[in-house]
């Protein structure tokens, strides 16, 4: 009944899901770093940086991820010759391009989540921090962001889960992850329903524990006020 799984050896079913996990982890880290920077820009005292952050978030949030991912391949790689340090290895190049696109897209959502977290920090905290003479980056880095991060673990978990699901878009540029393998399998095998169920199960296994763990963590780490 499950013969179709062993018929595919490159990538294997596990290999494809492992690619999905790798895409999620790498672009998740990238998005977290870039999103935090964007959030810092959006609340900074320099109007130009605020403008840039706002423009970035509004533009990227309203662009389909598919457009971004396909652009990294057809635009950045083919036209601009961006090889992402892997000029000959197209699989690796596709992977890195997908990570770049996913991180650039997800960062906008990380930024928005963080910004809403910054708003939950009571005014008095920042006032007290400024009263003892901390400057903007100290107030943000030592007082506000640590509390903001703890209060937005829930929303960030949702961003991460959405990212896990969004990695399937990398199939559009031929990255050998779960969606691409499922497309290949259901086209070649007769057991559409079974294959669909296997892949659905795979994603439930990936997203459910993430949601439960981060939900538990957000409850534990929440700043009690």
């Amino acid at each position: 009944m499950f013969d179709f799984i062993s018929d595919y050896d490159d990538p294997t079913l596990l290999g494809a899901f492992w690619m999905t996990v790798k895409l999620t982890v790498f672009s998740g880290v990238g998005a977290l770093v870039w999103g935090t920077l964007l959030a810092a820009m959006r609340v900074s005292p320099v109007p130009l940086m605020r403008g840039f952050g706002t423009a970035y978030v509004n533009i990227v949030r309203n662009t389909p991820l598919t457009v971004i991912i396909v652009f990294t391949s057809l635009g950045l790689a083919d036209i601009f010759g961006m090889t992402m340090g892997a000029p000959d290895d197209f699989a690796l190049q596709g992977f890195r391009l997908a990570v770049l696109g996913l991180a650039a897209y997800t960062a906008a959502f990380v930024c928005e989540a963080l910004r809403s977290g910054i708003n939950t920090v009571p005014v008095g905290q920042a006032e007290a921090a400024r009263a003892i003479g901390l400057n903007f980056s100290q107030v943000l880095g030592l007082i506000v962001l640590p509390q903001a991060f703890r209060s937005v673990i829930g929303p960030l978990a949702n961003v991460l889960i959405a990212l896990t699901k969004n990695t399937t878009v990398a199939a559009a540029i031929g990255v050998a992850e779960a969606a691409l393998l499922m497309k290949e399998m259901i086209e070649n095998e007769a057991q559409t329903l079974l294959i669909g169920a296997v892949f659905a199960f795979g994603f439930v296994v990936l997203t459910l524990p993430t949601g439960l763990f981060l939900g538990w963590l957000s409850k534990r780490l929440a700043v009690k006020r």
Binding site: P45, V67, D78, K165, M182, I186, F203, R225
Partner: protein, 302 residues
């Protein structure tokens, strides 16, 4: 305009802000200049590549039909998913376990699966077990995928909308002797629908964006797919990407702005309970159930 994080700038801070601005502009300018140089080097700025967009043919043959299909799929998905989502959302609030649990399972299942998998699966099912013509099939598959996913998201919006109403609303309903169904129909739903409107409009943005998935993987001739044919014809990959992205951004920006305008208006209005489900609050629903710290606004007591 001053923020919590910094004081109104004094002379030194003003000077520092100017320096930061100058450095930032320089960096940004450098990046833009680099993009410009690369585009120029690759010949992407030549007028012949951009000229098609000033003529009607590129629009009438490629972009407008593509945009039409995008909007068609999005509208169909929305119209079908909305009642389905309402039913699922209300079923999830049912007092009967045998209604509540299956509805919950369906909603959580389809929310956990990527839309793309749902589309691919639907497409294959249509190939194998129906005789929908291969011209229509991509549209059907895209709409099916979008409906399954968004119905479950909308179900959560409906549930959140009803839960966002003050408890007194339903208590008052029961107090004057209404039954559960009547309370839901006459008291809770009308208010919940108003509260949900901004969230529903912003869900449309997600649907519009997701139609692009069908273009690449199911060969549905929506806007992104139309871009491919256009670029194959005029050999203008970068310009066509820029134009198509602009159309998407403009369309979605209008929807986003409409949603936040609606939200602000509803929050302002004196009528109603003041419960408004904002554009960003739906994703937070699960988090809000576990610990509602991030919504605390100013951070009041408890």
């Amino acid at each position: 305009m001053t923020s919590v994080l910094y004081d109104a700038p004094g002379p030194r801070a003003k000077r520092r802000n100017v320096i930061f601005s100058v450095v930032f502009v320089a960096l940004l300018g450098l990046a833009l200049w680099w993009v410009y140089r690369t585009m120029d080097d690759k010949g992407q700025l030549e007028w012949s590549l951009w000229k098609p967009f000033t003529e009607s043919q590129a629009w009438t043959t490629y972009l407008l039909p593509g945009l039409g299909n995008t909007l068609k799929a999005a509208a169909l998905a929305m119209i079908i998913a909305l009642p389905l989502g309402a039913v699922l959302g209300i079923a999830r609030l049912s007092d009967h376990r045998w209604v509540r649990v299956p509805a919950g399972v369906v909603v959580e299942f389809f929310r956990a699966i990527p839309v793309l998998l749902l589309m691919l699966f639907a497409n294959e099912v249509y190939v194998r077990s129906t005789d929908i013509s291969s011209d229509d099939r991509p549209l059907y598959a895209v709409v099916t995928g979008l409906v399954l996913y968004n119905a479950s998201v909308l179900a959560e919006i409906v549930r959140a909308g009803i839960l966002s109403l003050p408890r007194g609303q339903s208590e008052a309903g029961y107090a004057i002797g209404l039954r559960k169904g009547q309370t839901m129909k006459n008291i809770l739903l009308p208010q919940a629908v108003t509260a949900m409107l901004p969230a529903i409009v912003s869900q449309l943005v997600v649907i519009v964006k997701d139609t692009a998935l069908g273009g690449v993987l199911l060969n549905f001739t929506e806007l992104l797919n139309a871009r491919g044919t256009l670029a194959a014809n005029y050999a203008n990959v970068i310009p066509s990407f820029i134009v198509v992205a602009l159309i998407f951004i403009l369309l979605n920006f209008l929807l986003t702005s409409f949603a936040s305008w609606l939200e602000a208006r509803l929050r302002r209005s004196k009528r109603g309970t003041g419960a408004v489900l904002g554009a960003d609050e739906v994703d937070d629903l699960n988090a809000a159930e576990v610990g509602d710290t991030h919504k605390a606004g100013g951070g009041g007591p408890a």
